[in-house]
Symmetry: C2
Subunit: 137 residues, 2 copies
Amino acid sequence: MIVSTKGRYALRVMVGLALRGSEDYIPLKEIAEAEDISLKYLESIMSSLSKGGLVDAVHGKGGGYRLRKKPEEYTIGSILKVTEGGLAAVSCTSQGAAACSRTECCQAKPMWERLDRMIDDFFEGITLADLLQEGKK
Amino acid sequence: MIVSTKGRYALRVMVGLALRGSEDYIPLKEIAEAEDISLKYLESIMSSLSKGGLVDAVHGKGGGYRLRKKPEEYTIGSILKVTEGGLAAVSCTSQGAAACSRTECCQAKPMWERLDRMIDDFFEGITLADLLQEGKK
DNA sequence: TGAATTACCTACCATGTCAATAGGGAAAAT
DNA sequence: ATTTTCCCTATTGACATGGTAGGTAATTCA
């Protein structure tokens, strides 16, 4: 499993925000109800998105969350990397992984690296705007 | 993380068996020492490979494990599917997953399906024999 | 026949991650 | 000052992962 609930929720929220336009700030409560996701759980997700600079957040009445860019300017990869903390298919290749003792002689490493590259290209090649249209394909 | 230690160990063992030719049966003890993997843990992995029909197993003295086919006849996918029990990138698309309530309206589903197909093609397009050569590329 | 060798099976444990919950804060508006 | 909203730090329960332990069944060899 390469993409957890957290990342999938994040995509749904971003799609939701995109559909509502980027004019108004949408309070988390409203998003949670619309998407039927636990408010408290969503908080941690929005926190990642906000810290990652993907959305604008404003406190107080009239505040909430809003896309910072246009949907076509977000790649799916950029969203998932923020919420999942990386997309490596194998622990060997994920940064911060204790370099396995066999790194030098591991027969499979080039394969894992090609896989990672392929997955990265895949997600970087799809934008939020594409996802909005996805149903119609 | 799409491929766990179990699957990676399995690949190493299969590579190891391939290198030793398919004449003799190699006892698990020997494999574990050569690969420096816990014997007991390897047991469960070999059990999967054996049940999956990927290797022949013979009891008693002179027994052990042996490849059933030629290295070029094993795809990496066939090995990983047996040990990992599937390669779905997202729980939504893995068989046996409680079809999420949004299946019908999920904007992202086509994307997950394309990703799964891509990963499957990737692993089905590489054979054990390819892996043996991998270092030289 | 019996002992050694080997695969096989069931259960267990320790750790970590995931999904979700809880309970407060702190910023901004009215 | 009060409400609204985002933000931060735990905590929990469930599950998967990686690994351990002990015993059983099949096969060979003496």
